[in-house]
Amino acid sequence: MTVARFWRRLKNMYNLIGTHCEKCGGFYYPPRNLCPKCRRSSRSVPFKFKGTGEVVTYTIVHSSTKDFEKQTPYILAIIKLDEGPSLTSQVICDHSDIHIGMKVRSAFRKLGEESEKGMLYYGTKFVPMESRNK
């Protein structure tokens, strides 16, 4: 992904900033300019999520794209944030601990790197709620 494409989403990815529709009260992450319920009459404003939620489902990825080869096997999960919306991210924990319904919280982590000398990408992954590892 090009620098600009990644850079323009950094504040959202680093801080879990999505959107809130002031008309219907809906919460969206990833951010949406148009609330799917209210569409043209939506009143979307940025909203920072607490970063706590629960694992809806998960997998352990053994075979990945090139960008994630060094990280395999890793836990990929859909996490439902406490405010409502769901997102796709990784959970950092012992592979035998991951389960549906696990309470998790967000953590700032390296996502990947362009190449050995290229730029590092950071973003939000998740760790078990009870974990002291920040």
């Binding site: 990833p30 997998t59 352990i60 075979s63 794209t65 090139k66 990280q71 859909i78 796709t88």
Partner: protein, 387 residues
């Protein structure tokens, strides 16, 4: 709106076709379809071709022109349009062709699909396919296609008690069907143990739970129903063509284990054809992964939600069962050249309904259905066919 019929079909063998290029395979399928229809090439009014990612797989865009040119139709200036909806590109190309004929805009239309996936390394293929998901909010977090479907499978197991053996039984059944299809990529039987002992790709999906990387092309010739008998004694009629969108990202679905675009497309198709799921005699469904076939037969109402795994294990969906699913071998055994798949499904319908399916011929089939999905369910397209 006019009724539409298929008057000719053609399909290459599916597999790793190292000795043939993209243009070789679509010409082979197109020529076969035209010969099957007894049509003169100069009568073709338009081409629609499904292709997911010529740009990534063969570094070639402008596929419509390429196909018209190498089909010998550029000299007639026949309009040619590429249609893209990830793995549903073929089904959508068929639908665009049907709409063009039904509307009266064109009479004779070729709808085809082609993909050449083995000219790049596996990582590039995996990444190109990952572009069918949301690149910015799924792919960038490490989501792969097997990974997304594995998350569907994990939750299906949790909610409904579906087992790894039941998932494997889909692959075993489709490989069995593939043994009877001379064009299938895999024509060998496999066992449940072989699936369970194969390499893990994304837990709980093993490599034998996944459709392969394939090359292949398929084409059908469409004509208005009222003139179809001029070309063939056995036209196969389109009873319904329905398409529905769903969220691009899996995480935005109301229920991760239900592809709601499939539900919506099926309801539209049943209404259009004036049938219910009980009236469908056989179907080709989008089994890109074993869990996908289980969700498909549930979401289209062939079995109750949650019972797809058990029904497959019990033989309900095998040839000889109550509703044979994927008699071609499906994406799993016949192969999955992504842009071609939706059209190949229609070719299988025509062969079965004409009684030309050889060893895998099912008895007394009157009404068949095809189900083609893009991505994790962002697009679903369903067609119903009859004699």
């Amino acid at each position: 709106m006019r009724d539409v019929a298929i008057i000719g079909v053609g399909c290459t063998e599916f597999g790793e076709l190292w000795d043939r290029s993209f243009r070789d395979i679509f010409v082979e399928a197109g020529v076969a379809a035209i010969e099957d229809s007894n049509l003169q090439g100069g009568k073709i009014d338009a081409l629609y071709v499904g292709n997911m990612s010529g740009g990534r797989f063969i570094e070639q865009e402008h596929i419509g022109s390429l196909i018209a040119d190498y089909s010998g139709l550029a000299g007639f200036h026949v309009p040619s349009t590429r249609v893209e909806a990830a793995c549903a590109s073929g089904g959508l190309a068929l639908r665009q062709g049907i709409i063009a004929v039904a509307s009266g805009y064109h009479d004779i239309v070729i709808a085809g699909g082609a993909e050449k996936m083995t000219d790049v390394d596996v990582e590039t293929t995996t990444d190109a396919l990952a572009a069918a998901a949301d690149r910015e909010w799924e792919g960038v977090m490490g989501a792969t296609f097997p990974g997304l479907y594995a998350m569907i499978a994990r939750l299906h197991m949790h909610k409904y008690g579906t087992t790894s053996e039941q998932l494997a039984s889909v692959a075993v059944k489709n490989h069995h069907h593939g043994t009877m299809n001379p064009k299938a990529q895999f024509q060998n039987e496999i066992s449940i143990d072989a699936v369970l002992n194969s390499v893990m790709v994304a837990d709980p999906l093993h490599v034998f739970d996944c459709s392969p990387i394939s090359d292949g092309a398929a084409a059908v010739v469409l004509a208005p129903a009222e003139i179809a008998k001029k070309f063939t004694d056995t036209p196969i009629y389109i009873k319904a063509s329905a398409q529905a969108s769903g969220t691009l990202s899996l995480h935005d679905r109301p229920d991760i284990t239900t592809i709601d675009a499939t539900v919506a497309a099926a309801n539209r198709a049943y209404k259009m054809a004036k049938v219910t799921p009980k009236d469908i005699d056989f179907a080709e469904v989008h089994d890109c992964f074993t869990i996908a076939e289980i969700c498909a037969i549930e979401d289209m109402g062939f079995v109750k939600k949650g019972e797809g795994g058990k029904a497959t294990m019990d033989g309900m969906t095998a040839i000889g069962g109550k509703i044979p699913i994927n008699t071609s071998g499906g994406l799993k055994a016949c192969g999955h050249p992504v842009g071609a798949t939706g059209v190949k499904q229609a070719v299988e319908m025509v062969l079965q309904l004409r009684g030309e399916a050889g060893k895998r011929q099912i008895d007394g089939a009157e009404i068949g259905l095809t189900h083609n999905v893009g991505g994790s369910g962002g697009t679903a397209v369903i067609h119903i066919f009859g004699r």
